[in-house]
Subunit: 576 residues, 2 copies
């Protein structure tokens, strides 16, 4: 059997200029960037919106995902095959998973973005740029602390001509960033040795979880990015004031580092349909959606734009609905929920034989369907077929999904058959979008039930922090919320800054609808433990850390890097 | 007066495809990469060598450099203006200095590589790729230590199917890497907190000082890079064995990360001459020369290839002669020594008026001239003229340089007048190359005086570590060498591995010929204090840390980032 990489490397790629032409981009709107990629100018977003946005999500996944990106790319290929102008908008893979677990994030089989090794390894360098801007701010705050401490306030101000910031070394809120799974960097002590301090505790998060990654994904344009970066809070002063990147004078330089990263990267699918790749993954610990800028560029030139949120509908989809649409004002026209027989069974809490396991695990799928339907969206369930799936089980699942209120339920064979294998799904999704008469309406971000738009977020801007959190927790099935001492302290700080009205970005395990990966199915009656909060004033949300979630993964016992190498032709091997 | 950035932004660039055409590269040998840049295939190095290599160096610089890159680019422009096929080969700027001190490293005035903001900010991402490969190895060794410690040797081997490495947590030799001036990361403790350890001391070096940067600069091709990375020593085992990237199984993945970085980036000078940009700076703490691959590609297609080594001739030039030519086998045809009246005066140790200061400071210039001449190279001194330099002083300097044995001494006005201002220098350099009948010969790396090649390194491969170090120290003017206890311990380890025969890469201040920045002029009689050694088995040299040198810079009181921003047209401002 061919690997994903074999299929990618054997593919006959179209010149990226042809893809850009088909996209409708004049030559002034793009520039070639490495192997079969192009950076797209933000000017390309200025044409009026013409397309419908489809959001792809999934049931609670097993460890390796259930083929959400395969389905996103396959669906785009299917719509393209049907003659629609269709474009996928997905996130740049992180090197953490690429080298941590086997495989990349460019789809798979005959539903891939190609060349997959270019997409999986750096692409056009956006994630590195985010880390670089992030770490410049970290270096800058520590350097300022060093100089102010060394000289004292008066001498510092006299010598530098700058106003002292009086940084509290115990309250440097800005950690550092690297795009690898590096467990040893989760918690570190910096500024040790002679004349490198003051020393203080710190740590690295994986770059996808950087606030700057969220800003890249949520901003409107370069000016908006500049303003948002200026608002980023790096530390607290000894007298309790927030110290922003603007206060430190580093916001302009950080934006300069990101000037190229703000442009989405155009690539192609195996069927030659376009794909814009932009912003980062990790919908468990970050907001984890691709960028608003990419969506706008794609929607200005296509009838259908297919995007995805990471993990299950409790994770990336929830953040898509409650964070991304709030910032973009663009309501989706329909949702696709990806499921596999394997995942339904993996979510079973009882049952000995296959059908009993399906029946038990169906509770999880039902929860995700109801979750999606609750946002007012027409829903198509896509069953991502695996070779040994039986017709009996597939039929059983289809009947149940339709009975639960799905607009449609189609089997996707995009992995094995590419566009052709996603044709039925594409037809169903196109029809679902048509039923949604307000698909092109702006998102109603205040959850007003009288709005004509069918889509509505789960909570309104006006709700208090506690009400928003409780609403989210109850949707997961929790009976209540339990804030740790640290979380209460964090909340008090956020309240003192008057920023407790921001939307919430829940960081939790993706392996359960709850905070506890051991709770399968559709758990209920648990208490959601909130262990800490992180204020992201520039991104415009509060991250809520729950359970044992960590913002830096670690490498496992048999990390993916073991199999990766170059061959004697200089080609990369072993990448999925 | 126009800033460097104004000049760069006002320049009318030629399409990079035209530059590649003039270079002589078929379309299959390059691919466009972002704004006016192209990545060049290594196949382009396969044509026979036709050109002469000119190495540009300088006197002991003041803090902001004396215009070495201005002269390198200006000379290339001048040779190009004279109708020669000429190409510059220089290093990618590090973001550390870009944001630390005002200004980039793309030259200046009318002798620049353009667009300067693209070159100064990420370029094509090579430095980020080096940091990423470096940090993958760091994450991998800590993860292996974590799993072997947590499970114990037997269980680790049974569960993973891998052989235990028995890493000594006190002897993890591989630090981490970031391309910023981040003082707080010089010395850190990693692996703190629950279940993230074993905790141990570590630190970050600026990426230019990564062994992988040296490998990028010194390797022949992708296979050689792969072999060298495999030899990189990451840690020692509890039973005293070296643990390499190959042992850890991470060398292939590290090479895959660098697969695009191995290709030099083609840019253009303001006069439209080509420039290959490749590998990193910091000739004080790294070997700090541009790549052998870029030189080979340029030499295969041009009559003159102009490259530079960082700081004074005691730093980058010395490493060019003793490390780079040893690896490449390519002897330079001539050397250019850049000097300014300001730098000569700054090196004065006595004198009240200008001429007396020049006379005193000339001792430094004389040392650098003798140093260069000692390698058997014809030498042209280039006086980089500043607006308020007087004719009297310039004439004085010229007479003295010719009397000291320079083949020529010319005033360069490349900053103010571009190619036209470097014409006299270009003529002199071309003539100097012609005097060197063996310019195209291979370097004689064993210092055999009977060789026909005029160029010879300072020491031979066969000399012992101590003899090499003493030879270098004596050339600096030292009366002896003093190894610290740590350095002796490091040497014993290197000897135990049988690798003490490698060439030396001296890390020292660039602000004096000695190890002490306070010793101006041409100091003598001091003892060179060696504080530690670092073995770089993959790069193929031993780094010798002297004095108070640090492998991670810090941000100053008024860091360069303060002035950098984007304007309302989305252009970067304040970058030099």
């Amino acid at each position: 059997m061919l690997t994903d990489m074999d299929i990618s490397q054997q593919a006959k790629l179209r010149p990226i200029g042809w893809i850009a032409d088909d996209f409708g981009l004049g030559k002034h709107l793009w520039r070639e960037a490495g192997h079969s990629m192009a950076k797209i100018s933000l000017e390309a977003a200025k044409a009026p919106r013409r397309g419908k946005l489809v959001i792809v999500t999934a049931v609670t996944p097993t460890l390796f995902g259930e083929g959400k990106t395969v389905t996103t790319i396959g669906l785009t290929q299917g719509l393209h095959l049907l003659g629609h102008r269709a474009c996928a908008c997905i996130r740049q893979p992180s090197l953490g998973p690429v080298f941590g677990v086997k495989g990349g994030a460019a789809g798979g089989g005959y539903a891939q973005v190609v060349p997959m090794e270019a997409m999986n390894l750096h692409m056009t360098g956006d994630i590195h740029a985010v880390a670089s801007a992030h770490n410049l701010a970290a270096a800058a705050i520590d350097a300022r602390l060093f100089h102010e401490t060394r000289l004292g306030k008066a001498a510092f101000e006299a010598k530098s001509g700058l106003k002292a910031l009086n940084i509290d070394p115990e309250q440097i809120l800005w950690r550092r960033s690297v795009d690898h799974n590096d467990r040893a960097l989760r918690q570190i002590q910096v500024g040790l040795g002679d004349n490198n301090g003051p020393s203080h505790g710190s740590g690295f998060d994986i770059t996808a979880a950087s606030e700057l990654m969220a800003i890249l994904a949520l901003c409107d344009d370069l000016n908006d990015m500049r303003s948002r970066i200026g608002r980023v809070i790096l530390a607290m002063s000894l007298d309790g004031k927030a110290i922003t990147a603007e206060d430190l004078g580093v916001a302009g330089a950080m934006t300069a580092i990101l000037r190229d990263a703000i442009e989405p990267t155009l690539m192609q699918t195996l069927s030659g349909a376009p794909c814009l790749v932009h912003a980062g993954p990790f919908a468990n610990i970050a907001h984890g959606n691709s960028s608003i800028i990419a969506d706008r560029i794609a929607l200005a030139h296509h009838d259908f734009v297919v995007t995805e949120g990471g993990f299950g509908s409790d994770m990336g989809f929830e953040k898509f609905c409650n964070i991304k649409t709030r910032a973009s004002g663009i309501a989706p026209a329909a949702a696709v929920l990806v499921v596999t027989l394997r995942a339904v069974k993996a979510n079973a809490t009882a049952g000995d034989d296959n059908l009993a396991k399906l029946e038990s695990g169906f509770a999880n799928l039902r929860w995700h369907m109801q979750n999606v339907l609750g946002y007012g969206l027409p829903l198509v369930v896509a069953i991502n077929r695996f070779p040994d799936d039986t017709e009996e089980e597939l039929d059983w699942l289809k009947v149940r999904c339709l009975a639960e209120g799905a607009f449609g339920c189609e089997i996707s064979e995009a992995f094995a058959r590419g566009a052709e294998g996603a044709k039925a799904l594409a037809l169903a999704v196109a029809r679902a979008c048509d039923t949604n008469s307000n698909a092109n309406a702006n998102a109603n971000t205040n959850g007003n039930a009288n709005s004509k738009a069918s889509f509505k977020p789960l909570y309104s801007d006006e709700m208090s922090f506690g009400a928003k959190l409780t609403t989210l927790a109850e949707r997961y099935g929790a009976s209540g919320v339990n804030l740790s001492g640290q979380a209460r302290k964090d909340l008090a700080l956020i309240e003192s800054l008057g920023l407790d009205g921001l939307p919430l970005c829940i960081a939790k395990t993706p392996m359960s609808i709850s905070h506890d990966p051991a709770l399968k199915g559709a758990p209920g009656g648990f208490e959601l433990p909130v262990v800490g909060l992180r204020l992201h004033a520039g991104a415009g949300f509060i991250t809520v850390l729950t359970g044992k979630v960590m913002t830096m993964p670690g490498l496992g016992l048999n990390p993916g890097y073991l199999g990766i190498d170059i061959n004697d032709k200089g080609e990369i091997v072993g990448l999925g």
